[in-house]
């Protein structure tokens, strides 16, 4: 008779990244068409005045706490989404070497840029 040792199950930390991936994907799906419509069609066609999105207006939007929060979310979440997808695509393409390094580089990049945007926005807010 074969004696089976109880199998050890190791919990994955994927829920964290999957959560960010899902949230980012949702945002991207909803916002990308709007951004293309605004910057690619409505402004070039003159339906919306280019003045509506000029530097001063955007700067004053960023200087408000809610504007800063919106920009942070819009930049950070799609970034986590993208790098999560790149990380998994590397596996799908059969790039098996240095999986943990791939993970560090992908999520590290998303984290670093998120922190960078956060501090930048904080600087504008406290200016």
């Amino acid at each position: 008779m074969i004696f089976k040792q109880p199998k050890k199950y190791i919990r994955s930390h994927e829920p964290v990244f999957w959560g960010l991936f899902g949230a980012g994907g949702m945002l991207t799906a909803f916002l990308t068409p709007i951004m293309i419509l605004l910057t690619g069609l409505l402004i070039p066609l003159g339906i919306i005045e280019p003045e509506a999105l000029n530097y001063e207006k955007l700067h004053s939007f960023t200087s408000s706490w809610y504007g800063a929060a919106i920009i942070l979310i819009i930049v950070a979440l799609p970034l986590w989404h993208t790098l999560h997808r790149i990380f998994h695509s590397l596996h799908d393409l059969g790039v098996q070497r240095g999986r943990s390094w791939q993970q560090v580089i992908c999520y590290g990049f998303a984290f670093a840029v998120s922190v960078f945007v956060f501090t930048l926005l904080l600087q504008i807010l406290t200016m």
Partner: protein, 251 residues
């Protein structure tokens, strides 16, 4: 040997991947020509070949009505049940039959299913009651239609293995627990009579559990019983995330 074909009979070309590990270096394709009728299935074509053309062709089959899950094979590269796929959907083009992808070949169209069977066993695919199982004399376990609806679809699995041969993640890494096993975890965890969720969630929460899936969804496309394992896995991802959050606050 060969059955006489009358000239008026329509014919169809079929090629079969042959492999007898004890004598063949590697698998090779063998051509056959069979009489064609509109109501013939792939399984019947194989039976015709075995009875009249070459008795050494090996394949699994039993019920002929898509319930035993034995006759899974690749038809032109797509995982199908031989008994549920009809020649008329391919005629007059040639049909190529191969053993189910992602499984080792035992002989011709027969594959070694051990890995899949072990995974099925591992997930405890049976009701684990909270208390001692009650005797039938005490009556049956009652369920509302809503409680039944929560898991019914996932209970239609016949363990044919088509989803495993469709799954690109299982092809890359067969440590992945796979679509059918995960769908069955959903089936039992979502059943109101079951109390084994905690045990099964340990399997789900692993990297090779539900997180090995990247939601390609081909498993649900090829499933002959409409189980939709991809949806079951997505539901389990949400459950696993909840479990993760709860786990952070519990020692």
């Amino acid at each position: 040997m060969s059955k006489k074909l009358t000239p008026s009979e329509k014919r169809l070309e079929i090629e079969i991947l042959r492999y007898h590990p004890e004598q063949d270096e590697e698998p090779y394709l063998q051509q056959f020509e069979i009489p064609y009728t509109t109501d013939m299935t792939i399984l019947e074509a194989l039976q015709f070949i075995k009875d009249h053309l070459d008795s050494t062709v090996s394949f699994r089959w039993s019920c002929r009505m898509a319930i035993c899950g034995s006759c899974g094979l690749m038809v032109n590269g797509v995982p199908k049940l031989g008994c549920k796929a009809f020649l008329r959907d391919y005629y007059p083009n040639k049909i190529t039959l191969e053993a189910l992808a992602n499984f080792p070949i035992e002989r011709d169209l027969v594959v070694v299913m051990d890995d899949f069977i072990n995974k099925l066993e591992e997930i405890k695919p049976y009701l684990i009651p909270e208390k001692e199982p009650q005797f039938l004399t005490k009556g049956t376990y009652q369920q509302t239609p809503e409680q039944l609806e929560k898991f019914k679809q996932y209970s239609m699995c016949i363990n044919c293995g088509l989803c495993y041969s469709a799954c690109p993640q299982y092809a890359l890494d067969n440590k992945f627990i796979g679509p059918a096993a995960l769908a069955l975890i959903a089936r039992y965890n979502r059943d109101s009579r079951d109390a084994g969720s905690a045990e099964r969630m340990k399997i789900v929460n692993q990297e090779v559990g539900v997180w090995g899936c990247t939601f390609v969804g081909y498993c649900s496309v090829v499933c002959p019983k409409g189980v939709d394992p991809a949806a079951a896995i997505q539901l389990l991802k949400v459950e696993s995330s909840k479990d993760y959050l709860i786990g952070m606050f519990k020692p």
